[in-house]
């Protein structure tokens, strides 16, 4: 092979690489690290539907400057160790610049990796207070459990009673909820007279409920994320069980005779337009677009918006650039939520709702400052 031939091959290769590089710069693959199997799978699958729907909608409208956005799902199984393995798989094999995460323990496990590997991590659902400062690459799009507990503790001490018991899930978010509620409730002049943990996915709560009822508090703060219906049924078996209050995850308590008059905080989370909701339900065979589906739909759109912003400004889609762009843009408004991001946790209004018959009535609204 003569010198000129070698030069030609090198030149063609370089041009090829340049073309590939240019094309690659506009390609976006979003990672989604969700619990797709195991006890948390029902939540993970709802989250997955939200992400997939956002990607499908965006690609139907033309994609990112004409290039379809891709999504790489990986299964954390709801376990931090599996979450770390999945994080490494996605960053090594898919080279994702941004990733969606779920569940506090997993998000906390991958947070330092996000900083080390410069991958933007968006958390639209996990609520442990530790997530606030877990990593500068981790952005929380919902208030943390402490923020909700603060609003609720202030309201409860003024309007419900001064003595409380706590039932909490023995995990990162549950423990966080217990600690935060206790801190804010005691600061507001209340006293926590009993607290009892339950395990994630547990369905027999009778011993716990009996013990809590025997303590005779004015009300019970309940911080669990699963099996609320089973708990509501068993509450109905215990005469004189005190009034319950809870956070966003308490929604399934609504609609049971045993929980009439209960309170919960709710993060304001709107719905996309009716036709989109109908399309979602048709696509996934669901009856409603649930909270997690909406929040992950919104968070996916947020990542796409960040990517579009960077491309419009001629920047590359790196994790670092995307992280910086979050604060550069600052405000992400949609039908689902109006997010204002000045710290790692978005500021959003928190409502206090009461179960009154077949309605959840908003009786107060507090904003969580960040």
């Amino acid at each position: 092979m003569c010198k000129s031939e070698i030069k030609n091959i090198l030149a063609i290769s370089l041009i090829g690489l340049a073309i590939c590089g240019a094309a690659h710069a506009e390609e976006l693959t979003i990672g989604a690290l969700l619990p797709l199997t195991g006890p948390a799978a029902p939540i993970g699958i709802e989250q997955q539907n939200g992400v997939q729907f956002a990607i499908d909608q965006y690609n139907e409208s033309g994609g990112l400057n004409g290039t379809p956005v891709k999504v790489a799902f990986d299964d954390s199984q709801g376990k931090p160790d599996q979450g770390v393995l999945a994080f490494n798989r996605m960053t090594d094999l898919e080279n994702v610049p941004a990733m969606l995460t779920a569940f506090s323990s997993i998000s906390l496990a991958i947070a330092p990796l996000g900083e080390r590997r410069e991958v933007l991590i968006i958390n639209p659902a996990a609520q442990s207070d530790s997530l606030a400062n877990a990593s500068k690459y981790l952005i929380n799009t919902i208030p943390l459990v402490g923020d909700e507990a603060h609003v609720l503790a202030d309201y409860a001490s003024e309007n419900i009673g001064k003595s409380a018991a706590i039932i909490y899930e023995n995990g990162s978010a549950g423990v966080s909820g217990r600690d935060s509620f206790k801190q804010f409730f005691e600061a507001a002049g209340g006293a926590v007279i009993a607290d009892e943990p339950v395990e994630f996915g547990q369905t027999n709560y009778r011993a716990t409920l009996l013990k809590i009822a025997a303590a005779k508090p004015d009300f019970v703060y309940i911080a669990i994320t699963q099996s609320q219906v089973a708990m509501a049924d068993q509450v109905g078996q215990i005469p004189g069980f005190p009034l319950g209050i809870g956070n966003t995850f308490s929604s399934p308590f609504f609609g049971h005779p045993s929980t009439e008059g209960w309170y919960q905080t709710g993060i304001q989370s709107g719905f996309p337009k009716d036709d989109l909701v109908a399309k979602f339900n048709e696509r996934f065979g669901t009856e409603e677009m649930g909270f997690f589906a909406r929040e992950y739909y919104n968070a996916t759109n947020m990542i796409i918006r960040i990517a579009q912003h960077l491309l419009d400004n001629g920047s590359e889609l790196t994790g670092k650039a995307m992280r910086d762009a979050v604060f550069e843009i600052g405000t992400f408004n949609s039908d689902i939520a109006n997010l204002s991001i000045t710290t790692n946790t978005a500021s959003r209004p928190v409502e206090i709702l009461q179960y009154q018959g077949d309605e959840r009535v908003v009786i107060a609204t507090g904003n969580v400052a960040n």
């Binding site: 199997t37 195991g38 943990p197 996915g201 009778r206 013990k211 089973a230 049924d233 078996q237 215990i238």
Partner: protein, 293 residues
């Protein structure tokens, strides 16, 4: 405090009756075949889902329960025929059998999630949350059914084992497989009968606990864990030991929340188990044969 104690004892007894039947049926098959059949927990869960699925088609409770028992028996026969018998043929060690059984358990749990739903589900029976007042005690209707049906089935299993020809043949195989083989009892066939009976019976607590609380594909392991502890502490090979030790352990676990936080209640059970087994290694009921019924 007395009322709380009473309620916790009753709750422990009800839970113990359900676990007791799981333990007794586990012990029945283990005594017969020597196979540590952890997939029993998978059958327990799967049958619950089968019954739930039947009810979604409008099938009433009793036929749904019977269908679940039938599916349980069939599952047991399939597991024995396709896995345990073949492993035994190639003279697999008990450890290999155990690993195989764990594999089947995982498959069954995931099949339940795939075929039915990974969600926590509840039966739609209107009587599910109805309460029955027994003096100062409140029990849900499903709890009452557990309290009645599980001990009845345990007694039925004992009677079957002692007073029927097939029951005696299974006992003979359990006591001395080699001798049984010589007398043309065909142990492999007895193993199939034993697993079919125990798998059909374990469907009952699987369904009733599902109706009482809720179901999730992955929650049966903790029930099996307590059941296995009861089998060992009750005296390996003793159905009575397994059943009553389950009730004792569940009651201790339930009542322990009076003294310690709920998070330690399972640990309390295990500490008691360890102490008990150190003091009485043969278990509650001492048997003449290591795997006798």
């Amino acid at each position: 405090m007395t009322m709380l104690f009473l309620h916790l004892v009753v709750d422990g007894i009800v839970t113990g009756c359900a676990i007791g039947l799981v333990a007794a049926t586990f012990a029945y098959f283990y005594s017969t075949s020597g196979t540590f059949h952890v997939a029993h927990a998978g059958v327990y869960t799967f049958c619950g889902y089968v019954a739930w699925y039947c009810t979604t088609w409008g099938i009433p409770f009793v036929p749904s329960l019977l269908i679940a028992m039938g599916v349980g028996a069939l599952l047991g026969v399939i597991i024995q025929g396709l896995l345990y018998a073949r492993l035994a043929q190639i003279k697999a060690s008990p450890l290999v059998m155990l690993i195989g059984s764990i594999g089947v358990l995982t498959v069954l749990q995931n099949l339940a999630a795939i075929f039915f739903t990974p969600n926590i589900i509840q039966f739609e029976f209107p009587w599910r949350i109805a309460n029955v007042e027994l003096g100062p005690i409140f029990l849900s209707v499903p709890q009452l059914l557990i309290l009645i049906l599980c001990p009845l089935l345990y007694v039925a299993l004992l009677l079957f084992s002692s007073y029927t020809a097939l029951g005696r043949q299974i006992r003979a195989v359990a006591s001395n497989p080699e001798l049984a083989q010589i007398t043309h009892l065909r142990p492999r066939r007895m193993f199939i009968y034993a697993i079919a009976i125990s798998s059909a019976m374990v469907a009952v607590p699987g369904v009733l606990v599902g109706i009482d609380q809720a179901m999730q594909p992955y929650t049966s392991l903790i029930i099996l864990l307590t059941a296995v502890v009861a089998v060992i502490a009750g005296g390996i090979g003793s159905l009575t030991g397994a059943f009553f030790m389950s009730i004792a352990l569940s009651t201790i676990q339930s009542v322990s929340v009076l003294l310690v936080s709920g998070r330690w209640s399972l640990a309390v059970v295990f500490v008691i188990f360890i102490v008990f087994i150190l003091v009485r290694p043969e278990g509650l009921v001492k048997r003449k044969f290591s795997r006798e019924l």
